[in-house]
C-alpha cells in the first residue's frame, strides 16, 4: 500500500510517495488549483500513477487556514470576554512594528469590535469566583449572536486558565439559543496565562473553524469519489500529524502546516546522517527565505509565533522565520547611493526580467543567469531572456558605478549576506552557535546560494538533499502523529507538591494516549514525553525543560532544576543561582510512531554525470566550470568547484575551492572550509 505526502503550495502541488510493500518511491509536481485546491491534490496523485484505492495513508500539508487569516477571508465570528477586556485582541501589547514610521497602521483584529461582547463575570488569580456569570447578560449576548447569524464564537475570560467554569457556562447559554454555532473556549484552546496570547489564539480558532470544515469536507469527498479508503492525516505546525477530524476542530494548530513538511525532512536527514545531528534548514523561494533549526532529529519549537504584528498564535509551533529574500528580490540603488537587494520582490508577476513577463528591474535570478549559474533554457523548460536581463543590469550598474557583471556578482553577495544575517538572528535568538551546524538548503533556488550564505556565517559544510525539489511532500511521509497537551501550574519548584505534579502528568499522559488511540495508533506505538515551562521567579519568559517519566521524587525534582539551569543558559546565555526556579505549566507530548520512508541507497542513474561545461563568474573572473546531472552522480563521487549540479527541480552552485561529495543516499555534501577566514 502507498503512503503519500502532499504539499499544496502557492504555485505547485508536490507529491512524494512510497510503497510499503515494493519499497518503490515516486514524486510528482502539478499546478495548484486555486479555485479548489482539492482538485490539485487528486491531480498530483494521478500524475504519480498511484491508484487511490491503494493508498493507506495520505499526509497533507495545507496553508488554507493561514491564507484565510492573512486576508481575513472567513465568515464573521464573535467573541465574548470579561468586562474591561473587550479590546485585548485589538490593543495587543501597544507597541509598534516600525520605530520611526509615522504613517504605520496595525493589522486588523481577527474579530471585529462590533461582534465583541462583554459580560460582568470575574474569576481571580487563584481560580476563585469573584463575580458569578450573570445569566441575563449572557442570554442577551447569545441573542445578539443569533440576531447577527454568527456561526462561530470565541469565549475568553480573564484567569480562565486557572478555572474555566464560567467559559463552560457561557458556552451552554450560547448553545441554548444557537445550537448549531461553534463555541470555542480559551480554557480549552490553550489554558495558559497571559490574556493577549490566549484570547487571540482562541479568536483564530473561532475564525478558521468554518473555513477548514468546508475545505476538509470537500477534500475528503473528492478523494472518496476517486476510491480513496485510507486514512487522511494533516500536518500540524508542531511538526507532527493528526487525524482530519481533530484538524477540523483545531485549525490554530495548522498555521505552519505547509512549511512543516520541509522541516520534517531536515529532521529525517539529521537522523539519517549521524555526523550531522544539527541542521540549519533553509528554503529559498521566489519571494521569501525561510529558516529553522533542527537538532537531533527535531525542529526547535516556539510558543511566540506571530501571524502578523502582535497577532500571536501560542500553540507549540516549529520556529520557522521568514524574511523577504529570494529569487525575485530586486536590486536597486537607494537615496544615499548604495546598492541594495530586496526586500521588495518582483514575485511571480512580473517576475525576473529574464522571464520576459514585463519585469524591468534586475532580480537575483537575473543576476544568477548573467553569472552563468542558471542554464538559459532551464533544461529546455523555457527560454530565458538573457539580453533583457543584461540590459536591466547595465542600467543598474551605471547607477552603482560598476560593470554589469560586477553588479550581478555584488547582488548575489549582498542578497546572500542578508540571508546570512537572517539565519544568524534565528540562531542567536535561540542561543545557538552557527559553527555547531551544517546548512541544508531546500527549494529550487536554495543550493544556488547556500555556499555563500554558509561562508558569510563561517559554517564549513552545506548539504543539498536529493529530494530538495519536493522537500515538504517527502517530509510529510516521514512524520509521526503528535499531540501537545498542557496544563497551567504556577509554583516555585521549592513549593511544588509532588503528588499534584504526578497527578497532573498522569492525566495529561492518559489524555494524549486517548487522542492517539482515537486516531488509530496502537498503544505500543505511542510514546509520551513530559516537559515543563519554567522560569526564574520574577522573570516573564519561560523555557521548555524536559522532565523525566514516571513517578516524580525529590531527587527527580533536583534533576529538573539542574536541567532548567542548563536549558536557560543555552537559550538565554545566562543562568543564576540567585533566583528560584518556578514551574509555569506542565506539558506532555504524545507521539504516535509511524513508518518513515526507508532510505534508498542510490547507485546513480547510470548515465554520464558530466552534462557539459560553461563559463561561470566567481570572485571577479570567469571560470570554465563543469555541469553535472545530480541524479547521475554515483555515491562517493567527489566533485570540485567551481561547478554546477543540476537536478530535476533544483540546482546547486559550488564556488571555487568547494568540494562536493555524494553520500550513499544521493545527498550532496559540500565542504567550503577552504573559503573561510580563521574563526574569531
Amino acid at each position: 500500500m502507498w503512503r503519500v505526502g502532499i504539499d499544496v503550495g502557492g504555485t505547485f502541488t508536490d507529491l512524494f510517495a512510497w510503497d510499503d510493500e515494493s519499497r518503490q518511491q515516486v514524486s510528482s509536481k502539478v499546478l495548484t488549483t486555486k479555485h479548489d485546491r482539492a482538485v490539485g491534490v487528486v491531480n498530483a496523485i494521478k500524475a504519480a500513477n498511484i491508484p487511490l484505492a491503494r493508498i493507506s495513508y495520505l499526509m497533507h500539508g495545507t496553508t488554507t487556514a493561514t491564507n484565510a487569516l492573512i486576508v481575513r477571508d472567513y465568515p464573521d465570528a464573535a467573541m465574548v470576554t470579561t468586562d474591561g477586556f473587550r479590546d485585548t485582541i485589538e490593543i495587543a501589547r501597544q507597541h509598534r512594528e516600525r520605530l520611526y514610521d509615522p504613517y504605520q497602521t496595525k493589522p486588523k483584529p481577527i474579530i471585529k469590535r462590533r461582534f465583541r461582547y462583554t459580560v460582568g463575570e470575574r474569576i481571580d488569580v487563584h481560580g476563585e469566583v469573584v463575580r458569578p456569570l450573570p445569566r441575563e447578560q449572557a442570554l442577551e449576548v447569545a441573542n445578539k449572536i443569533k440576531q447577527h447569524g454568527i456561526r462561530s464564537v470565541a469565549v475568553a475570560f480573564i484567569n480562565s486558565y486557572k478555572n474555566g467554569a464560567h467559559e463552560v457556562e457561557m458556552r451552554d447559554i450560547i448553545k441554548e439559543i444557537n445550537p448549531d454555532t461553534y463555541v470555542v473556549l480559551s480554557s480549552e484552546t490553550r489554558p495558559v496565562f497571559r490574556e493577549h496570547g490566549r484570547f487571540t489564539t482562541t479568536a483564530i480558532r473561532a475564525a478558521t473553524i468554518p473555513v477548514m470544515e468546508v475545505y476538509f469536507e470537500r477534500l475528503e469527498n473528492a478523494l472518496k469519489s476517486e476510491g480513496f479508503a485510507g486514512r487522511l492525516l494533516i500536518l500540524k505546525s508542531s511538526g507532527g500529524i493528526c487525524g482530519v477530524a481533530y484538524a477540523k476542530l483545531h485549525p490554530e494548530e495548522l498555521i505552519e502546516s505547509g512549511p512543516a513538511g520541509g522541516v520534517a525532512y531536515a529532521g529525517y536527514l539529521s537522523r539519517l546522517l549521524p555526523e550531522f545531528p544539527n541542521i540549519i534548514h533553509t528554503d529559498v523561494g521566489g519571494t521569501s527565505f525561510d529558516v529553522s533549526i533542527v537538532e537531533n532529529g527535531h525542529g526547535l519549537i516556539t510558543r511566540d509565533h506571530e501571524i502578523e504584528w502582535e497577532i500571536p498564535c501560542i500553540v507549540p509551533m516549529l520556529d520557522i522565520h521568514s524574511v523577504g529574500a529570494g529569487g525575485g528580490s530586486v536590486g536597486w540603488v537607494d537615496e544615499g547611493g548604495s546598492l541594495r537587494v530586496g526586500p521588495r520582490s518582483a514575485g511571480s508577476s512580473p517576475g525576473p526580467v529574464c522571464y520576459g513577463l514585463g519585469g524591468i528591474e534586475p532580480t537575483i535570478t537575473d543576476a544568477n543567469l548573467l553569472l552563468g549559474r542558471i542554464e538559459p533554457t532551464l533544461g529546455g523548460k523555457m527560454t530565458l531572456d538573457k539580453a533583457g536581463a543584461e540590459a536591466a543590469m547595465e542600467r543598474l550598474a551605471a547607477e552603482v558605478g560598476l560593470s554589469a557583471i560586477e553588479t550581478a556578482d555584488g547582488m548575489i553577495r549582498i542578497g546572500c549576506e542578508n540571508m546570512a544575517q537572517a539565519v544568524k538572528k534565528v540562531l542567536v535568538s535561540r542561543g545557538r552557535d552557527p559553527r555547531d551546524f551544517i546548512l541544508a538548503s531546500f527549494g529550487g533556488a536554495g543550493a544556488m546560494h547556500a555556499c555563500f550564505v554558509a561562508e558569510s556565517m563561517n559554517i564549513p559544510k552545506v548539504v543539498m538533499p536529493i529530494h530538495a525539489g519536493v522537500a515538504s511532500a517527502f517530509g510529510a511521509t516521514a512524520m509521526d502523529l503528535r499531540h501537545d497537551l498542557e496544563v497551567f501550574h504556577f509554583s516555585p519548584v521549592a513549593d511544588a507538591n509532588l503528588a499534584d505534579l504526578n497527578t497532573l502528568y498522569s492525566k495529561l499522559e492518559a489524555d494524549a494516549v486517548r487522542l492517539l488511540e482515537a486516531e488509530g495508533v496502537s498503544r505500543e506505538d505511542i510514546d509520551t514525553n513530559r516537559t515543563a515551562q519554567m522560569r526564574y521567579v520574577g522573570q516573564t519568559y519561560e523555557v521548555e525543560t524536559p522532565v523525566p517519566d514516571g513517578k516524580l521524587t525529590p531527587s527527580g525534582v533536583a534533576g529538573i532544576i539542574e536541567t532548567f539551569h542548563s536549558v536557560h543558559k543555552r537559550e538565554y546565555g545566562v543562568s543564576s543561582s540567585d533566583f528560584a526556579p518556578a514551574f509555569v505549566s506542565l506539558g506532555v507530548t504524545g507521539i504516535g510512531r509511524t513508518d518513515a520512508p526507508p532510505p534508498i541507497e542510490v547507485g546513480g542513474s547510470g548515465g554520464e554525470a558530466v552534462k557539459g561545461e560553461r563559463q561561470i563568474y566567481f570572485n571577479g573572473a570567469w571560470h570554465m566550470s563543469k555541469v553535472y546531472d545530480g541524479h547521475a552522480l554515483k555515491p562517493d563521487a567527489t566533485i570540485d568547484g567551481p561547478c554546477i549540479v543540476e537536478y530535476e527541480h533544483a540546482c546547486a552552485v559550488l564556488p571555487p575551492n568547494a568540494v562536493g561529495t555524494v553520500d550513499r543516499f544521493g545527498n550532496l555534501i559540500i565542504d567550503i572550509s577552504r573559503n573561510l577566514v580563521s574563526n574569531v
Partner: protein, 603 residues
Amino acid sequence: MDKKVTVDTSVIEQTKVDPVTFEVLRSIFEYASDRMTTVLQRASFSPILADMIDFSNAIYDYECQLLSQAANCPIHLAAMKYSAEAIIEKFGIANIHEGDIICVNDPYKGGTHINDITFLTPIYFEKELLGFSVSRGHWMDLGGGAAGGQAFAGTHIAGEGLRLPPVKVYERGVMRDDIVEIMVNNTRTPHFVKGDLQAHVGCLRAAAQEMQRAAAKYGIVTLKAAMKQLQEYTERIVRKSIVEIPDGVYEGEDYADTDGFSTKPIEIKVKLIVKGSDITVDFSGTDSVVKGAINSPFANTASAALYSLQFFLAPHAPQNQGMFNPIKIVVPEGSWLNAKWPAPTIGCTTLTSAKITSAIWQALAKAIPERVTGSTSADCNWFVSSVIAPNGATDVFSDLPAGGWGATPYNDGMNVTEDPLGNCMNMPAETAELLFPIAYEAFELRQDSAGPGKFRGGLGAVFKVRYLADGELSMETARTLAGSPGVAGGQHSDVQRQIKIYKDGRREVIGGLDEQGNWKSPLLCGHPFAYGETFMFESTGGGGYGNPWERDAAQVREDVLDEYVSLQAARERYGVVIDPATMLIDEAATARMRASMVEKAAA
C-alpha cells in the same frame, strides 16, 4: 599600556570601500547592534528590560561617533552619545582598557533620568581600537524618594536616586564588587542588580565579537573606512530630505500642564530654522527651569529633538552620526530644557520629551503640512506603585497605559500605542495579578477620545486596576487641560484624567479636570490607595488630520458600528446623521449638517 588606534586617519580617509563590500558591512553593523538587543532582552532579569524592553544599544566608531544603533526607545537615540563622550572625557582613551566596562547615569553627563543607566566597553582587534559598544537600560529602581525614583514632590536631584559619575564597574574583565555593592545598597530591587548587569555585559561583548569578526574578514582599514563612509552616506540622505523642506522659520509650541507646583502650564517654544540642507532647532522663548521634577538636561532635549525630526527626515536610513551633523540644537541657558544641577529631572524622558516632539511636529506641520501627522497623546503615562505583598514585603509594580497616535494625511492614527519616544509593551493583566496583590479591571478603547478629522486620531484607553493591598502610586502625565492638537483642520482629542474609585463606587478625580471644571495636578507622588480602591486612568487619543466633515460618511458609520465613535459624536463632530433604529445614514440630514459645519468654519 595598550596600543591604541595605530592606523593613520589619512590612510582611512583615502581608502575607498567598493560598493558591494560597503553594503555587506552596512548589513553587518546593523546586525551587530540588533544582536545586542536580542541578548539583552533574553538575558535580563527585571520585567522592565525583559518584558517592557525599555533599553537601547549602540556601537560607536573609534572616534566615538555613532556607527549603528538598535534604539528600542528613540529617546535614547542621541543621549547615549553624550554619555559615551562623558565617559571618554573623564578617563581618556588611553586609560580605557580591553575588558573595562564603564557606567554612568548622571543626568547632567549625558543621562536622561536617573533610572537610565549606560554601560560602555571598548572594542579591540589585534590591539587596535575599533570602537565602543554601549548599552543603556532603564533600571527599575535606583533609590530616591519614591518607588522607581518617581519623586514628583521632590525639588532636588538628590531625591531621585543614586547618581553615578562615569565609573569602572569592570576593570580588565574583572567585576568591581565595591561598585556593584553601592548599586545593590541603593535600590528597592537589589535582586535584579547582578542579573541585569550581566545581561548588559553579555550584550556589549556580543557586539564586540561581531566587529572583531568583521575586522578579521575585511581588514581593519576597510572596516574603519566603511564606518566613516556609512556616516557620510546617512548624512547625504538626511541632507537631501532637508533640502526638500522649503527654507524658512517655522514655530511650534506645546506645554506640560504643571511641574506639580505651578498653577499655569510650562511652555516649550521651538523654532525650526531651515536653510538649504541644514536645520537649527532653537528653543529660545521656552520657560525657565522649574521647581518640579520635569526639567530636561541638554542630552535629553537634544535626543528628543533629533528623534522627532528622524520620523520625517530619514526614518529608514542607518542610524549614525550622519543624522546629527546637519542639525544644530540651541537650548538657552537657564531654561527648563537645559537643566543643570541640582534641578530634578525624573520626568524628562517620559513626559518632557513627548512634549518636545509635539512642539516640533506642529512646527513641521507649517513647513510640510502634506506630510505631518496630528499630535500623539504625547505621554508615556508611566506609573509606578508600591504595594505591600501578603508576606509584608514591599513590591514595586509598574505599567504604562498608552494613548492614541495622531491621524496622518493617509490614514487614521493608531489606537493605544506607546508614544514615539519609546516602544515599550504594557503589562499583561494575568501576569500582573500573578505577581502583585492587584486586579486589572479594564484596559480597553475609550470611545470618542480621539481627535476628529478627515482622518481620525487613534483612540486612547480606559485603564483600571484595583488594589488588593495598600499601596502608593506615583505618575506623571499631562494633556489634562486640552487634548492632542490636530493639524490641517483636524481637531483636538479629549483630555486625560486620573480617578480614584472608592470601595463604595464613589469616584474622585485626583488628576485633571472634574465635572465641575476643577483641576488637579496630574503629577501624582506617592498617592495612597487602600485595599479595595481602584485607580482609573483615561488616556487620550491622537489629534485629527483634515476637516472632519470631509471624512467619508460610510467610514464614520463603520466607526459607529464598531463603537469607536458614538452616534452623538458622529452627528455633532463629523456631521453624519445615523438613524439609531436602522443604523443607516440619513443622507439628506447629513448633507445639511455638513454644509452648516463648513459655513461655521468659514465664518
